[in-house]
Each structure stands twice: as C-alpha cells, then as structure tokens.
C-alpha cells in the first residue's frame, strides 16, 4: 500500500509542489537526450542507405574524441587537431568500404552486422593503443557552467550541444533534400536494386554515408567529451542509442532526434522523481524498458518507414 503510494501518488505531488524544479529536470533530460540523438543519427545515416546496422557507431564517437584530445594533449592547436580528426574519419570511411564492405557485398545483414562488431573492437583497441586508457579532459573553449534562463537552471555546455545538434540536423535535412548526392542517398534507401540499375555506384554511397556518420560521431564525441571527459565509458553511453532507435525507427532522421529527446527526458524525470521509490538507478534501465514497450506495441518506431499503398 505504502509502495503504491510512493510510486503512483507521491511523485506527482512533488511535481505539482515544485513545477520549476520539474522543468529543470526535464530540460536537463532533454539536453542529455540531444546527445543520444547525435549518436543515433550516425546509425540512421548508415542504416538507411545500406541496411547495415553499424555497431561501431558508439566506438566511432569515442575514437574521434580520442584522436582529437590526443593530438591536443601533444600540443596541436584545436583547429589543426580538428582538421586531422576529420581527415582520419574520412580515411576510416574509405578503409571500411575497401576492407570490410566491398569484400562482403551481398552477404546477409547479420554478417555485415558482425563485421561492424569487428570494426568496433578494432577501433577501440587502436584508440587505446595510440592514446592509452586514461580519462582525458577535452578543453575546446566551449562555454560551460550554470546559467539561469527565465528562472530555470541549465548548463551552458548542454545548450551549446543542443544548438550544435540542431544545426547539424538542419544541415543534414537540407543536404538530403536539395543536393544530387542527397537525392541519390534517398533513392538508395528507397530501392537499393533500382538505384543499382540506374547506375548509382554503391561504393561511393558507402564511403559517403560512413564519412557522414564519422563526422556526426566527431561532433557527438566533442560534446560528450567536453561534459564527461574522453574515456572508454563513452562507447557504452552510446549503447543508449539502441533504445533511441527502437523508439524513433531505424530509418528516420527526425525519429532519431525525437527518440533521443524522449529517452533523455523520461529517464531523467524517472530517476529524479521515481528513483527513491524504485531504489534508484532508474536512468540505467528505463530507456530499455521503454524500448521493450515500443517493440511490443509499435515495432516500426514512431517514425518508421511510411509504406505507400496505392488503391
């Protein structure tokens, strides 16, 4: 009886009692969610164009952040380190196409998935080999610290993160909509075979999407790294992208964003208001519970592919 009270009634009483605190918690959650969105976005870009589920996306975030911070620790100026890291991510895309995807063309999805598992371990090992396993602090001069906005307390860094994510998504949307490469990527996502038949070179498509995913990973790595430090747990945080994808749909860019926001917000609110009643650590499992519920009731996700049926 008492338990039911603490789960069903008490949290709402608290929320009603201090709505401003609730909004703060919610905002914090949404801003964390933006980070999840960024990682999920990388998955979506690759999955849409090639139906490859890239398990290595999280590790790419870590790897990009490590490349960046490692060079800066060696004294390279930020712009140079950024430039080289971009170059490395592009190089990675070429390498993945040449060494992994091309030899495995026409293999089933599960085999390609396994291959990305391999890429993930390889990148993690390489990162560790090059830059060691310590926590690195990433200092790019991005403003951080608390800020009061209309009476609500937020972290500046989170705001910058949200702005960057917003810009990135807008840029991507414009790219997909208005450029000829973007058009071809949409075509490939729609009908892979037809794209082949009109002469779209698949290896070019692969290099492009892996490059895009690599650069998105770099952005995510910078934002995550600036707030948590660059460390190996980064690739674990990225695992949250999986429930985000289940919520948003694997092929939807808006889905990745909305899914990330939902996961970020609900788990934070759950943690703060329901955590005490449920024994804490709600943040660790709530996203997966949410994903499970979605799998049962809406397996295609919120923005799953619209299937056109003509009558």
């Amino acid at each position: 009886m008492h338990f039911l009270y603490t789960v069903l009634i008490d949290p709402f009483v608290q929320i009603a009692g201090d709505p401003r605190f609730f909004v703060e918690v919610l905002t914090g959650g949404l801003l964390t969610g933006v980070m999840y969105s960024l990682v999920a976005l990388g998955f979506v870009i690759i999955y849409k164009a090639s139906r490859v589920f890239n398990f290595a996306q999280g590790t790419m975030v870590l790897f990009a952040a490590l490349m960046l911070v490692g060079q800066m620790e060696m004294g390279a100026p930020a712009w140079l380190a950024l430039g080289t890291t971009c170059g490395v991510m592009v190089g990675l895309a070429f390498a993945v196409e040449r060494l992994v995807l091309r030899p495995m063309v026409n293999q089933s999805e599960i085999i390609l998935f396994m291959a990305t598992l391999g890429i993930s371990f390889f990148l993690e090992g390489l990162g560790q080999l090059m830059w060691g396993g310590d926590v690195h602090t990433l200092e790019l001069g991005i403003p951080s610290g608390p800020l009061t906005l209309g009476g609500i307390l937020v972290n500046k860094l989170d705001l910058v993160g949200a702005a960057v994510a917003g810009l990135l998504v807008t840029a991507l949307a414009l790219f997909f909509r208005w450029t000829s490469v973007g058009r071809v990527l949409r075509a490939v996502a729609d009908d892979h075979q037809a794209a082949l038949s009109v002469g779209v070179p698949l290896k070019v498509v692969w290099v492009i999407v892996w490059t895009m995913a690599g650069l998105v990973a770099l952005v995510a790595g910078i934002m995550w790294g600036s707030s948590l430090g660059v460390q190996f747990s980064l690739s674990l945080v990225a695992l949250k992208a999986l429930p985000v994808l289940i919520l948003g749909g694997f092929t939807s860019v808006p889905g990745a964003i909305v899914g990330g926001l939902i996961v970020g917000a609900t788990e934070k609110v759950g943690e703060v208001f329901w955590g005490p009643a449920l024994g804490g650590a709600v943040e660790n499992w709530f996203a997966y519970l949410l994903a499970l519920i979605f799998l049962l009731f809406r397996p295609q996700g919120l923005f799953g592919e619209r299937i056109i049926e003509r009558v």
């Binding site: 026409n106 071809v184 075509a187 729609d190 794209a195 009109v198 002469g199 056109i308």
Partner: protein
C-alpha cells in the same frame, strides 16, 4: 570495332544462381545498332536473367555468369560493375518498374542522370526531353512516385533510364499489369525513342503478339535456352509460335503429349 558488328553480342552465356542453380544454359543473341529485338518466353524462361547478365545486376542477386561473354561495342561488359555498364550506355528498366516511391517524379528522373556526372544545364535539357516524350509526367512532376498510376510509374522508369543517355535500353516486361490501351501508348513512345533518339532496345516480354509487332527480330527462350529465333515477321508467321505463344491454335488444340513432342523437336532445332 564499334562501327561494324552488332551493338550487343551475347555469346553462349551460362548463368548460375547461388553457385548451384543453373538458369541459363548457353544463350546467344545479338542486337544491331538501332534495332529493337524481342526476347520472348513464358514464366521462368530466363528473360530477366538474361537482361541482368547484360546489365550486371545479376551479381546483386548472387547470380554469376559462369561461361560465355557479353560484348557491347566490342568491349566486354561481364567484368564491369553495374554503374560502369550504365556509363557505357547500357541501362536496364527492371521488371515491376521499381520507382523510388518516396521521391517525387522529378527526383526519380534526376537520379538517372547521376551516373553520367553531368552539369546542371545538360541535365535540364535531358529532363525537358523526357517531359517531351512523357507529357503526363510533367504534370505530375511534384507527386511522390509511390502515388502515381502504374502506367505513369512505367513511364517514370523508362524516363529515368533515358536520363542516362543510353545507347541500349533493356526493357523488362514494360507491359506487365497495365491496361492494353496504356501498353500501346508506352510501346509507341518506345518506337519513337528508337527512331528519333537512336536508342536500341532489347525487350523482354511475355506478350509475344505485342512484342513482335514492335520488334524487328525476336528470340524465343525456353528453360534457359534459345529455342527459336528470326525476323519478327517470320516468327509471327511461324506455325509453332502461333500455336504456343500467340494463342492462335488452328482447328484443334494440341494435347499435352503433342506439346511434349513439340518441345523435344524444338530442342533439336536449337
């Protein structure tokens, strides 16, 4: 050399799917420059497989040309990637249309220009040319291809292929699932493309009557082998073709046994 010889020469090819399923058992055919050639045969005869062996789309379906060669303008196609084949001027319009359903009609057409890496103006000209041949597409240019009619989708598929400036189009059953009236309209446009733009056509069809009215030469494929070929006129008048493909059996229907006998005879012919 490019000048003489046929545009396309398929030389005794054998195709195997999944390393074990032998589907084409030695198919040879030729398409002359500026020609329209029909490839006829019933379900599963191997028409689509033959076209995919030429365009090299076979590889994406785990098919393989294990014997023979495909030559286009004297150059071998069978070792190229599909996009390289398209750049050489050979494009396949796949069976079942395969439009990009979530793209607009115009975006569908524009994807056809991608392989050519053309500039904006020349793409604009090509687009106008497609709209000239398919005026109804111009009216629907902003509609999603998934929502237009089947006939319009077939036009999109052909128009999209046209955007690559092909020398040879491989049309796979363009009549499938369309009303006779529309089929006539589409075939008339194909004839015009052939006459005015000099696009050669290899046409796979189940509809023998229709195909032989538009083609100048025909091959009949059965069970992965060419069993008969000749000028369209001659095929139309061939008694066996009449009975088995044109549905014009004379006074009596052939029994199943006689059908078997006929098949055996044809095999010797081939």
């Amino acid at each position: 050399m490019a000048g003489d010889g046929p545009l396309l020469r398929v030389n005794n090819i054998e195709v195997i799917y999944d390393h074990v399923i032998l589907v084409l058992k030695g198919v040879s055919l030729e398409v002359a420059r500026g020609g329209i050639v029909a490839l006829l045969g019933g379900n599963g005869a191997g028409k689509s497989t033959t076209l995919k062996a030429i365009s090299n789309l076979l590889k994406a379906e785990r098919g393989q040309v294990t014997k023979g060669t495909v030559e286009f303008e004297g150059e071998r196609l069978d070792r190229l990637m599909p996009h390289q084949v398209v750049r050489r001027g050979v494009i396949q319009v796949m069976e079942g249309r395969h439009c990009f359903e979530h793209l607009t009609v115009e975006d569908n057409l524009l994807t056809g220009a991608f392989a050519r890496r053309a500039g904006r103006t020349s793409v604009g000209e090509d687009l106008d040319r497609v709209y000239h041949y398919f005026p109804s597409l111009k009216r629907r240019r902003r509609s999603l291809a998934g929502y237009i009619s089947g006939g319009e989708q077939q036009m999109v598929a052909i128009g999209r292929a046209l955007m690559s400036r092909p020398k040879l189009m491989l049309l796979d059953e363009p009549s499938m699932g369309l009303a006779p009236q529309l089929v006539e309209e589409i075939f008339a446009i194909v004839d015009r493309l052939n006459a005015e733009q000099g696009v050669s056509v290899l046409l796979a069809e189940q509809n023998t009557n229709l195909a032989l009215r538009h083609a100048r030469y025909g091959y009949i494929l059965e069970n992965g082998r060419i069993v008969l070929d000749g000028p369209a006129q001659a095929l139309r008048e061939n008694a066996d073709v009449k009975e088995f493909y044109l549905g014009l059996a004379g006074e009596r229907r052939l029994s199943y046994r006689e059908g078997k006998h006929y098949k055996r005879r044809k095999r010797w012919l081939a």
